[in-house]
Amino acid sequence: MTTPESMQRLEELFHEAVGLGPQQRAEFIARLRDSNPDLVAELESLMSAHEQPDSLIDAPAYEAGAEMIADTQPALLAGQVVAHYTVVGPLGKGGMGEVYLANDAKLDRKVALKLLPAEFTNHKERLRRFIQEAKTASSLNHPNIITIHEIGQTENLHFIATEFIDGQTLKRRKYTKMELPEILEVSIQVAGALQAAHAAGIIHRDIKPENIMLRPDGYVKVLDFGLAKLTENSGQSRTAGSEIDTMIRARTTPGTVLGTVNYMSPEQARGQALDQRTDVFSLGVVMYELAAGHVPFTGATKIDTLVSLLEKEPPPLDVAWPDMPAEFQRIISKSLRKNREERYQTIKDLLIDLKSFKEELAFSQKLGRSPSPLVQPGTAAAKAPAQTEGKPRRSALLILVAVIVLAGLLVGGAIWWRRAATGAAPGPAPAQPPVVQRTVNYWLTVQKYREEKPYGEPFRLRDDINFEKDYQLRLHINSSQGGHLYVINEGPSGADQAPTFNVMFPSTTANHGSALLTQNQQIQIPEQTWFKFDEQQGTERIWLVWAINPVPELEAVKGVANPKDRGVISSPGLAAAVNQFLKAHSSPSPSVERDADRTETIVKAPGDILVHVIKLEHH
């Protein structure tokens, strides 16, 4: 048995022996054979290894490994054969490993072939449990659970062959807005799949848009039952620095626990034992995202997201979707309770609520066809359930509120339905989506200056820096949407001073003075020169306003962005109007994320106006 002590002894002897000439070494070993016979054989093998420098270890790893790193080719190429499946081509990279379209030679049908990374299949017991769960889920023969044809192995390669679904995942689909009936339909089908699985004792553990597929015929299929089991505790095998190791694994290995924090339940984030209520929460996150256009818990980093998940309440849904029926908000809110004791206790309860809500909607659809004019529901009534949620409903007042709510719900639902529903769900989305979202990408280029000379080349700003004297910057904007862009600078000002503004865009220095950008147009502001700071130090704010329609308050001031006025809004009245507009539209803050290289910032906000502030320190 090797112990730290025996290794230490061995090392001492090793160094002693290495320092000796051949003759003395032989004597040394001979002496040792008497005093320490059990170590001699070990020492001799080490000495002989010491003199044979032709091992992998003798050149830095990158010499052997560079070609492996650089190889980003798919693991399987068209025409390759795995068991009796011939690979047709890649379908995509799933949460865990690559997925290929393949042909089943035996039955002459298309299958989706998923390769399981070896690191997840090394643990035999875990693999066995996964296979058992996956097979059990598949054998339920539920229309919303993907059918597994085979879980197989060829030497070291583990694969799953499932029915091939010619559709798209919810992750892709969600980029085009869904109507309420479709959101409900998808949620109900997913809940149905989960209910069947839970009844068989299987928890999915990893409900997220990538694992939900939509077929063109309206069927929803839930993928990867039991797969999450394979990744559990995958960070534990490492030795020293396990925290870093775990994080590295999470970042470099897609699909490990930290890879998907957005849809995790709080108990999952805490590493507690899971029961079926974790699936209730994750489905709640998906429903919220479909309704709001963004996930409920986010942060600049995964850690921030986890903090948000564990501690913060998501923004109310009616911010993103003002006439969202209160009942659907209540359902989502109840699914997203951090304390699982307060959540829907079973997916069945959630399913029942979803189905009754769907029926109510269908009922109000009939009302909606009645010729009498409809009244817009009072916002107080619409918001009431969210506010009273969780408190005991004992008083008559609350019952009254509930009655009002129900009435409001029916009418509200009717209005909503009449406006939005053009066909029976599931089906293609109607032309006028109720949820509008603005999204814009931006980045800054900075040219450093030292002693009035450019210092280094311009670079893309990746992190907060202090803008020293004479630093110059440019703003780059790009969006998949078209719209009107305004960029306003708010200078540093004391608490008792009125803020000072100047217009950076639209201006004569970029886009020919127009605020209107077309889809995917990328602009640089200014085009030819740079922005620089004035003498006043402090926090400079750069307000981005990205709107579908022209903004009157900002249209009124855009004329000042010329070389003569240098963009300064000098009229106190206009400045006050701009201030009021910016402050009114900047709350709640839009969601902000960075791209993989951390050089581009992606800002998203519900509604038709996005207002985002960039803060620059200038000291």
Binding site: M7, E11, M47, A49, H50, Q52, S55, I57, D58, A61, Y62, G65, A66, E67, M68, I69, A70, A75, L76, L77, V81, V82, L115, P117, A118, E119, T154, E155, N156, L157, A240, G241, E243, D245, I248, R251, T252, A300, K302, I303, Q447, E457, P458, F459, R460, L461, D463, D464, L473, G491, T500, N502, Q528, T529, W530, F531, K532, D534, E540, D597
Partner: protein, 202 residues
């Protein structure tokens, strides 16, 4: 206030991503206990190592000479702002990069091995067959396993190997990262190397 500079600045046509202060900044934050900074550092270093590996391969095939510079060093030069980074942060960076390098390489080795074994009827082209004749994947995985064994009794030795082998660091740099003396690092390295050679030969 920000205003448009007069156009005396020379026109910039190319925008290059160059070392800025972000890595340095993140290293400082991580060093002072900010875990989120590590979360942001890892992908930056990871991507850079990946990119460098690809260009390393291109260079090698073009000139057929082996570059002496380790990828980790190059990543460091490209990512960190040389003028403002301290020796401790440099050591920190190397330590992190070596770990990431180990992870990247061993993961890829496992994946490639799995694929090669799985695609039994896969026809390897001749060059590929030659290239993989000595199976570096197998050896890398074996080395990784052996290092784990070593770490169970001698964690510092294992770390020295990680830095030297996966990070490509010199004895001097390794000593700096580990806060060990040159002589001790040298001794750890020579013993671990003999021990690992024997494990790999077995």
């Amino acid at each position: 206030m920000v205003f448009v500079a007069t156009p005396r600045t020379p026109r910039m046509n190319k925008l290059e991503i160059l070392p800025d202060q972000s890595i340095t900044h993140l290293l400082v934050k991580w060093g002072s206990g900010d875990k989120a900074a590590l979360d942001e550092l890892i992908p930056l270093v990871y991507n850079e190592l990946r990119k460098l590996a690809a260009s390393y391969l291109r260079r090698r095939s073009a000139s057929n000479t082996l570059q002496a510079t380790a990828l980790v060093h190059e990543a460091y030069v490209r990512l960190a702002d040389q003028s403002s980074i301290s020796i401790e942060h440099r050591a920190q960076f190397f330590g992190l990069a070596a770990k990431i390098m180990r992870d990247i390489l061993v993961d890829h080795a496992r994946k490639r091995l799995a694929t090669k074994r799985g695609g039994q009827q896969l026809r390897l082209s001749l060059t590929e067959a030659e290239r993989f004749g000595h199976k570096p994947e197998v050896e890398l995985i074996a080395l990784d396993e052996a290092l784990k064994t070593l770490a169970s009794t001698n964690p510092q030795h294992s770390r020295v190997v990680e830095l030297r082998f996966f990070g490509g660091l010199t004895i001097e740099e390794t000593a700096q990262v580990m806060s060990l003396s040159h002589a001790t690092t040298e001794r750890y390295w020579s013993f671990s190397r003999a021990w690992l050679r024997r494990e790999l030969a077995a």
